[in-house]
């Protein structure tokens, strides 16, 4: 398992990267934690690999006016360490990141890389979807901003055009008072068999509004709007009962690790546990 030959350039600015990406079959490398296995297994053969780790503008992380703006080349570890108690809902990000691979992977792997790789069992795509984040993209035609909802189009597929680069992710931190996260995997750090991230405006008694996203269950992360309608305005026991009775609109993915039916069972369990932890968090004065 060795990569085919390619050229390599360490870029130092976003303009640099965009210019280099005009090369046919050029690929961006950041942490390389997904790209290098793809290349080693010869599932991908870029002719040029452009390293963005020295692009300072893509390494920034700022919390301002209720939103978090993160450079795409920020590592999972750097992001985790920046989630101090001054950041609203910091624990949500810490809980999620601690489920991504292992320490050694998180030390190299980046936020933008995880989002652009668009593995449907990955955590970040579901998180940006549920939080309504925006993707800031640079390309030959200039900049554009893509809502997370429109970003993921299939397994390992995004709406990014050849030559485009995700530079920043803008994550709103408002509109919810509590959150929950639950992931089922066979071993800590493994790919999720099913996972759920929930953010909700809720108090101890009831859910006002909730947003629910699943990962590891289909070709793309799923936002469960039907279920959200069922739990909105309900007491917690009623909301949890609605999850137990929920039937997925489409069949969930079935594979070697879990049949479609088994995955639906795991997914319902993950949603229930994520919601339960969101409920429990309303007791702990998490609301801000």
């Amino acid at each position: 398992v060795k990569s085919a030959a390619f050229d390599f350039v360490r870029a130092t600015s976003i303009d640099d990267v965009v210019r280099l990406l005009a090369t046919e079959d050029a690929r961006v490398i950041a942490g390389g934690q997904s790209l290098l296995p793809v290349m080693a297994m010869r599932l991908g053969f870029p002719s040029l690999v452009v390293d963005v780790n020295s692009v300072a503008a893509m390494k920034t992380l700022a919390v301002e006016a209720g939103r978090l703006s993160c450079g795409a080349a920020v590592t999972q570890t750097a992001f985790y360490q920046a989630m101090t108690e001054h950041v609203p809902h910091a624990e949500l990000f810490r809980a999620l990141i601690s489920h991504i691979g292992h320490d050694a992977i998180r030390n190299r792997g980046t936020i933008g890389g995880s989002i652009c790789h668009a593995d449907s069992s990955a955590e970040w795509p579901a998180l940006v979807l549920v939080l309504g984040a925006e993707m800031q993209v640079a390309g030959p035609a200039g900049e554009r901003v893509i809502p997370a909802e429109e970003f993921f189009v299939g397994p390992f597929m995004t709406v990014l055009e050849p030559g485009e680069l995700l530079t920043h992710v803008h994550i709103p931190l408002t509109g919810f008072t509590t959150w929950g996260f639950y992931e089922v995997a066979r071993r800590a750090g493994d790919f999720a068999l099913a996972g759920c991230v929930v953010v909700a405006d809720a108090d101890r008694e009831s859910v006002n509004e909730a947003r629910v996203a699943l990962f590891g269950c289909a070709g793309v992360p799923l936002r469960l709007r039907e279920l959200e309608d069922l739990v909105a305005g309900r007491s917690w026991p009623d909301a949890l009962q609605a999850v137990r009775e929920f039937r997925f609109e489409h069949e969930l993915a079935g594979d070697l690790h879990a049949s479609s039916e088994a995955r639906a069972h795991l997914a319902r369990g993950a949603i229930r546990r994520a919601l339960t932890s969101a409920r429990d968090r309303t007791d702990q004065g998490e609301q801000r």
């Binding site: 990569s3 390599f8 490398i29 080693a40 690999v49 750090g189």
Partner: protein
């Protein structure tokens, strides 16, 4: 096209000429002769190739050598030698923390990084942390015992309520 890179490996300044496709692991093993870093899966799954980059563990099979230009790397060879083993290696010896030894360099480097963190570890935390390193022989108990012995000696260990290790 080859690239000229400079990096510090175990405190020694090294200059290498590498093709972009050469991983850090292959450069360490093939060009510097540091074959203590083992290559298991070469796709990030097994952890045998774990080395420290600026003191933090990374998979050396998932990093291009050319990306390590200017970086500081530590490998298992930086720890100790036969007859002058590092206390962490000594703990693995005392607790029989290996059988075939293939995963050992990755385990040792991973635990070394744990011990440098400004925090304490307990057994569940350590086991979860070591989930990124696969061992096919020991069943992990002796590895956990080895790591616990070293972390305890470093004042970085908290016994679990059951006192299992």
């Amino acid at each position: 096209m080859t690239h000229e890179i400079e990096l510090v490996v175990n405190g020694n300044q090294e200059q290498l000429s590498v093709e972009p496709r050469v991983t850090l692991a292959d450069a360490l093993r093939g060009q510097l002769g540091l074959t203590g870093t083992h290559l298991g899966c070469e796709q990030g799954g097994c952890g045998a190739c774990t080395v420290l980059l600026s003191g933090r563990p990374v998979r050396s099979c998932l990093m291009l050598a050319v990306q390590a230009d200017g970086d500081d790397i530590e490998t298992i060879e930086g720890l100790g030698r036969v007859g002058a083993s590092h206390p962490l290696q000594e703990a693995f010896l005392q607790q029989r923390g290996f059988q075939c030894g293939f995963c050992t360099p990755g385990m040792v480097m991973t635990v070394l990084a744990c011990a440098r963190e400004d925090r304490n570890w307990d057994e569940p935390e350590l086991r979860e942390h070591l989930a990124g390193n696969i061992c096919r022989c020991t069943g992990y108990d002796s590895i956990v015992a080895s790591a616990a012995e070293y972390l305890r000696a470093q004042g970085k260990w908290t016994d679990s309520p059951e006192g299992t290790s």
